[in-house]
């Protein structure tokens, strides 16, 4: 970024002094100019300009044809993309310090608790939320993690770091289910085997089906919060986010989806490359595990080429930072995408997965995921190829608020 409006310079100074108070005043109107602008709605623009007004995108075009109104601040960068969407994380629930009081991504008291809302667990001011924002990530699909059969709900939230009410985009995005080893219990507790995991899930969905029918017949039927959410799954309003890695677990997820006529999104999917025809035929989305995920346990056969292989097979996918129990406490989806690109995923496909495709998966493509007039002014500014190790994020814009990143 070579020039910057004085307003933004002042904001940058304030932020430098108090990084825990990321509340820049929104400028009503400003422009973002990039030597390359990936709009994700058509070919990338050379010397492109995005006009931002009142938190929305007011105009997008080539500098040659789009006049920047005189006097408004201009942010400049080598590369501009839509704000990145992390298509699955636990950030905000799995906090920086990794001590019991900041780990809310899984509740171990019972194997199935679909009633747990991400809204009630998300800590917007956890440092890691700001860490991701500083790297160009403007929205995160986050929520309950993989440590139980049904661990709870997920949501889509912006990375401002204000309050969850201010920042939430979609309060109920998916219901997190784990058919992976992490979702099984030890010591004689259920589910202790993969077959038991599936049996319990099927029983619960069956219960929800009966519950929904009963509620429809009799409005006085007492509310069951958990079954209520699963009824939304059965009605097709909300997908199950099913974490599974081994090929046979992935097929179990598809089998349950078919039996109940529900939408599933496959999460992790380390061995998806073994069952690509089945996944493709089922028409489901996949969230491949982070490219740098450790290849132990049921990820032993994981490959850094997974995203490339899914793309080659025309399976729809988006990219994620996932969950880490230790360090790095949050992965950075941009950097995971970089390693996927280094392992054969075309850069354009990776950018789609981080923006418009993630928005489609989360059914917010009318609002997020590309630089188009009327959409949220979410942008990421880089001083070079976003996927290169040595490139910096030089600014992030969320809902028209500019967060300088100190060249992070």
């Amino acid at each position: 970024m070579t020039t910057c409006g004085t307003l933004f310079a002042a904001v940058a100074l304030l932020l430098g002094a108090a990084p825990q108070e990321p509340q820049p005043a929104p400028a009503r109107e400003f422009a973002v100019a990039g030597a390359v602008v990936w709009t994700m709605a058509g070919e990338p623009l050379t010397d492109g300009v995005v006009l931002v007004r009142d938190g929305k995108i007011a105009a997008v075009g080539a500098a040659a044809t789009l006049t920047i109104p005189p006097g408004i601040p201009v942010l400049r960068a080598a590369v501009v993309t839509p704000g990145l969407i992390d298509a699955h994380a636990t950030v905000g629930l799995s906090g920086l310090l990794n001590v019991p009081h900041d780990q809310d991504q899984v509740e171990k008291s019972s194997p199935m608790q679909p009633e747990l809302r991400a809204l009630d667990a998300f800590h917007p001011r956890d440092e890691l939320v700001g860490w991701l924002r500083g790297l160009g990530i403007t929205s995160v699909h986050t929520g309950h993690g993989t440590g139980a059969l049904i661990s709870g709900q997920t949501m889509l939230v912006k990375t401002h770091g204000r309050t969850v009410e201010q920042d939430v985009v979609a309060p109920l995005a998916m219901v997190a289910v784990s058919l992976a080893d992490a979702g099984r219990a030890a010591g004689g507790k259920a589910p202790g085997t993969r077959a038991k995991s599936v049996a319990m899930l099927r029983e619960q969905l069956q219960k929800a089906r009966e519950y929904a029918a009963k509620r429809q017949r009799d409005a006085a039927t007492p509310v069951d919060l958990g079954l209520d959410v699963l009824a939304k799954v059965l009605a097709g309003e909300v997908p199950l986010l099913v974490t599974a890695h081994r090929a046979h677990d992935l097929l179990s997820a598809l089998r349950v989806a078919k039996e109940f006529g529900i939408r599933v999104v496959l999460d992790g999917a380390a061995e998806a490359y073994l069952v690509l025809p089945e996944i493709r035929a089922a028409g489901v989305w996949v969230l491949p595990h982070p490219a740098m995920a450790r290849t132990g346990g049921d990820l032993a056969n994981g490959t850094m080429e997974l995203a490339k292989l899914l793309g080659d097979a025309q399976v729809p996918f988006a990219l994620q930072s996932g969950y880490e129990a230790y360090v790095p406490k949050t992965r950075v989806v941009l950097w995971e995408a970089g390693v996927a690109v280094g392992h054969g995923l075309p850069a354009a496909a990776a950018l789609r997965a981080l923006t418009i495709d993630a928005a489609r998966l989360l059914q917010v493509e009318a609002r997020l995921g590309s630089l188009a007039v009327g959409k949220d002014a979410d942008l990421a500014l880089y001083d070079g190829d976003p996927f290169e190790y040595t490139t910096h994020c030089v600014g992030t814009v969320v809902d028209g608020r500019h967060y300088p990143t100190a060249g992070r």
């Binding site: 310090l97 490959t303 230790y326 040595t390």
Partner: protein
């Protein structure tokens, strides 16, 4: 394994034969961009290796390729020294057990599985020398072992030897929260330091008794394997590799190091950027970990990607490490790249994964640069070492190719996939002709 006897003998003979053939003819890599590390990059250079050593390095016009040489066209490729990782847990390494906090007699050597796929993955990442360490759950978890990642069937074939024939390695120590446990472990930092100091005093007493005996067997103290190792440390023959994160814990290590005069490398040093001047003044090197985000444990809450740069500018000898499985050996070059991103000079960052780490292992005369006379350990890259788009194409150790991305089995180890994390098959691992199961 009696029934394997004949096979093993044949294999050993074949391995020797293959080695001898490779040693007979020089190999000349011609036209590559050479990054010698001890000097400026050489565009369009030639590297010649023979007999396991580097015999020539220089610009194309300045190096004469012997007529009998095997000439390898390396145009468009980049060749740099084999990477040195100063802190790793590959080889399914284990050290001390839960019976006590201080166990210097335990050797990593006695736990290494040379068929652990982690070793092949490290080769795929361009790593040729590695300090394999026990974990950090003890104040002193045992002796580390320095390995050359040759295609070996036994740990003895991988182990680096000192001039006297002993196995090269250091001593792993740790402070901060990782070794804090119920008694007999320390529950607090003060107790941890006291236990370590008491142990070093015992070692000093032992050392003095041995010296006083002047070789007279009747006067020697009862032999103590653990104290023997600590005497090596006190005499500067064995380096302490010390896990430490928080700035106060770092200073505690320096305090103990000064009290007992041992040679030491600080490892991880998440808050090293806060005490860079003190570390520089103590002239203690740092082996730094590069992690994608702060946190994950209390002591790493202030972890910074700038640590390497800050320490380097303060005059500290800086290396990076994988801490594999914390970061992946196949992506080791990502660590210096992220350090450059955070401000570190490129040449310093590349030194930090080669010669700087070699110095921390006392191996700077044998490895770490492309220098005539040094071991022929090198990596052939498809491009710039600090680019996400660059692939490790080949890894060579002592003139032997140990990784070749063109080989499907090697490629599997490099990128992952079905079977990539299984133990390496017994057959064919040692001849550079992988593929058998």
């Amino acid at each position: 394994m009696v029934h394997f006897g004949r096979w093993t003998l044949a294999a050993a003979w074949m391995a020797i034969a293959a080695h001898a053939i490779a040693q007979e003819r020089p190999h000349a890599f011609v036209g590559a961009r050479l990054l010698p590390i001890d000097g400026a990059p050489i565009e369009n250079g030639t590297l010649i290796v023979q007999g396991g050593r580097i015999t020539a390095v220089g610009p194309l016009q300045a190096v004469v390729v012997p007529p009998e040489a095997v000439v390898v066209d390396a145009k468009g490729q980049t060749i740099m020294p084999g990477l040195v990782c100063s802190h790793s847990h590959i080889g399914a390494v284990a050290g001390a057990d839960g019976s006590g906090p201080i166990q210097p007699e335990v050797r990593a050597l006695d736990s290494i599985d040379p068929r652990d796929p982690g070793i092949q993955k490290a080769q795929a990442g361009g790593i040729t020398t590695v300090n394999v360490m026990p974990g950090s759950g003890h104040l002193l978890s045992g002796q580390t072992v320095y390995l050359k990642l040759r295609d070996g069937r036994t740990v003895d074939e991988l182990a680096i030897r000192n001039a006297d024939g002993s196995v090269a390695g250091g001593l792993k120590m740790a402070n901060g929260t990782n070794p804090q446990r119920d008694p007999p472990f320390a529950g607090t930092r003060g107790k941890a330091a006291a236990l370590v100091r008491a142990q070093f005093h015992r070692a000093r007493d032992y050392q003095q008794k041995v010296a006083a005996a002047a070789g007279e067997p009747s006067k020697l103290p009862e032999r103590n394997l653990g104290l023997e190792v600590l005497v090596e440390v006190l005499e500067g023959k064995r380096v302490v590799h010390h896990h430490t994160h928080r700035q106060d814990d770092i200073l505690t290590v320096l305090r103990l190091q000064q009290e007992f005069g041992f040679r030491c490398v600080l490892h991880h040093v998440s808050e090293g950027w806060l005490v860079a001047e003190q570390i520089a003044a103590a002239k203690v090197p740092c082996s730094v970990i590069v992690i994608d985000s702060p946190g994950g444990k209390l002591e790493a809450a202030h972890l910074s990607l700038s640590t390497g740069d800050v320490l380097d500018r303060a005059g500290v000898l800086v290396g990076f490490h994988t801490d594999d499985g914390i970061t992946d050996s196949r992506l080791f070059l990502r660590s210096p790249a992220l350090a450059v991103r955070a401000g570190m000079a490129r040449d310093r960052a590349l030194q930090a994964v080669t010669i700087a780490n070699a110095r921390m292992l006392d191996l700077q005369d044998r490895i770490g640069t492309l220098t005539v006379g040094k071991d022929a350990d090198f990596v052939v890259l498809s491009g710039d070492p600090l680019s996400v788009y660059t692939q490790v194409l080949q890894t060579w150790v002592e003139g032997q190719k140990v990784f070749d991305r063109a080989d499907p089995q090697d490629r599997l180890m490099a990128v992952g996939g079905y079977g990539a994390s299984r133990d390496q098959a017994m057959s064919m691992c040692c001849f550079g002709t992988q593929g058998g199961q």
